[in-house]
Amino acid sequence: MKKLKEIYREVVSLQRQKGRGVSAQEISNALNINRANASRYLNRLSDKGWIKKIQGRPVLFCSEDLQEFPKKDEDIFSFIVGSDFSLKVPVQQAKAAVLYPPSGLHTLILGETGTGKSMFAELMYKFAVTSDVLEKSAPFIRFNCSDYADNPQLLVAQIFGVKKGAFTGADKSRQGLLKKADGGVLFIDEIHRLPPQGQEMLFLYFDKGYFRPLGDTEGEEKVEVRIFAATTENPYSSLLKTFMRRIPMVITLPPLGERGLEERYNLIELFIKEESQRIGKDIFIDKNAFISFLLYDCPNNIGQLKNDIQLACAKAFLKYKSQNKDFILITGKDIPQHVKAGLMMISEYRETLEQLLQQVGEVLKFQETYPSVLPATPPEEKYFYDIIEQKLVELKKENKSEEEINQILQMDIEMNFQEYLGTVERYGKEEIGKIVSHSVVDMVEKILRIARQRLGREYDNKVFCGLSLHLQRSIERIRNGERIFHPRLNQIRVDNSQEFLVALEVAKLIDEEFAVEIPLDEIGYLTMFLASKPFETKKEQQNKVGILVILHGDSTASSMVRVANALVGVDHAAALDMPLHMKPQAMYSTAREKVQELEQGKGVLMLVDMGSLLVFGDMMAEDINCEVKTIDLVSTPMVIEATRKAVLGENLEEIYKACKNIANLAGKDKETGVQLVEQISKKNIIVTACFTGQGASLELKKILEENLISDYELEIIALEILDREDFLAELQKLQKKHRIIAVVGTVDIPTADLPKVSALDVMEGKGIAALKKQLENEEMYNNMVKSLREHLTEIDSERAVANSRNFIQLMEEKLNLVISGDVKVGITLHICFLLDRLRKGKMIAPFAGIEEFRQNYLTEMEEIAAGLKDIEAEYQVKIGEDERAHLCRLFLQE
């Protein structure tokens, strides 16, 4: 099948060059296959009706699409939608570039994905032919640099050819496309992928009219080729300046959004008509569906619009065939969800719509009888409708139910519209393609499409990106014979049985495509990507640490627990009162029962006051199989904190520490010194994370190191997040020793209080910029700490700066503010000095107009008072109303 397509393409291109049919011998020469084979393929193509056989001597073959080669004096550009409006300037430029004496201008075409750059280049070529600037037989050769993006040397060799021995693997001399295009046009798509070396070789050709194949130091190949190039990128940042200077003509194609509704109307009309022509039947579309197509957000421009329309037509066609309808009607049910969303924009465009659709009834009809002059539709698409029909017949023969048939065919249809379906947005694919090979990206698209179908779940860019990185790496590892191990494979299988089945299915695809054998453990990883919340499969029943408060007194414990539960808003903490007359033995057995009742597998924290209760925990640890930790001298804040953390799902150790901290704060005065020394030497780190800790996270680590490590003091650590708990524990460990600037991950990182950056952002550069900013910011605060250290006599500058920053962050949340970095610096300093002064017992400037201010900002003032509680406790100071008002104003004025 693949071979057939190749042959067909060659027929089309040769026919275009020669302006007549093609013989078997010519195909045999062009593709370097023997004549008998060429003839066999050609006959098969002709049997299938893809090409026509013209009897004679020799027998010629030609594609029907090209019989309508435009006549000489027809202005081919006038056929495209918008040639008089949005494309007027580009068309004028294009004509000028083609006609410019003596041999035209090399042209760069700019425009977003799907704006029609390739089509435009092809039209320019046709225009050159019809204007007699180029021979009818002049070649038009297209080349997409991204096909060779992972091998720059091969890419350059493709264009310029190579002399034997130029590099490893170049075992014979080969002609390049530039040579093959002699006398015609070479269209280089995605030229931003052409490495600088290639760009230099190309502009040497611009300047001198000759080039040298790779590895050839003397020969001068003279050719006359017009170069049309295209890119989606900003050429001034993605191409060499010296190259850009030599491009005499730059044409920019506008994105769909800038082309106005009227043109979009015409485009939709054109595309539906094309489909109608292919099916050979009229196509009807319901007005609302039509409006959806007019208005929906279409980031991949015309290419996507066309694709979405074809998809809708195919679905409508299926309905027409399988349900024996009288006509093909596209309704809301046949259009993808993201297209349907267009209807919601109706109110914004009401007037224009009314004008446009004035003459239109509830259903629109499209038919087309003339073949279009625009570039030919590839045959595999052309015969797509036949395939649907064929399958339908087959399935009916197998006695499948209508519903089943529909499901199967719907799948097939969607599989056929790979490129733009679903949620993969334009940049994601572009960007990731720079790191991951295209075949992997395509595979991931396929995988997610299947998963979306099977599991009825949407996958966002993050999953797309993460899975791409992961898969790339996994395939490498499998090929290198490295072992892949998934420690929780069985658990994953049980928890996500549906996803696992899908993963098995896609693994087969991967096997075939990449000629590897995916081990079961790897399928476990794939399953995790497909699961919606890989870490929280059991969120509902996520186990929590039990909290048990046991105190002396008739009701002390129960009242303390009541307060805590009420404040946290749950009923999690439990209480046991121990009246003074109660015997410890009796209490112990009650407590033991209670602990067993509370135990959910994550241990129990016992909060007690004194005496025999202190040793209960140790006794139980030996007595029952349960981890118990004990906190003594309990206070209400401790119970509240413990309950809060337990409900959040934190582990026993964490909660225990938090309570200990509170205990320390209450008793301590100025003994922070020891702890501080180790804090000051904290190092900045960035954590990268992926499921294995060896795949995407290592790639990310590499990228970050390349971008950041030379400029900042920084360490990057790659972690695995197979298990949520382990991961968080690991983070905590790191956090003690280092300052975590951010966590960069391929999947959602299950931690609330650290800045997160997605892998996608990193690849797009946004993430790097954000991280840089954050690092600079950290450096600045470090310097602030150093500058302050000698001047703040009463408090520790590091601690104070940290406290202030936490407080500001808290206020941002509570007051729903976004405070700019500059202002934060000011406020931080303000708070540090405020604390120092208060500790010294100095007076603070009164706040003028406090009465009125208090009235106006009642709630804000209260939030601030609440937010300052911790700081007041830690520094043993009282922050008065005037000071709070100063702070409040600083926050609010921003």
Partner: protein
Amino acid sequence: MAKKVMLVCSAGMSTSLLVKKMQTAAIERGLEIDVFSASQAEAKEYFDEISILLLGPQVRYLEGELKKVLDSMGIPMLIIDSRDYGTINGEKVLDEVLAELKKGEPPGFHEEKEDKP
């Protein structure tokens, strides 16, 4: 006459250290510059005396309010760069001040210390 530089923040607290550092720097460089700080509320009282007013970044919202008055009096105003502010970089802020004050002077004008007999 010594030039007076006033730093303004909300309560005149957080600028105090910066004032000290700037003043030290000025003395070390042998400049006759007097640096002091004021709270937002007090600031207006000194407008008659000062050559330039500096705002802490956290009170930059005052700029709009003060600009009119200051412009009419021909007093320049600067918002202190938050990095310099955060790191309490007196030298750097002083440089900024000198550069700004120079702008207001006619070209070729050098305020050289007159040799007093």
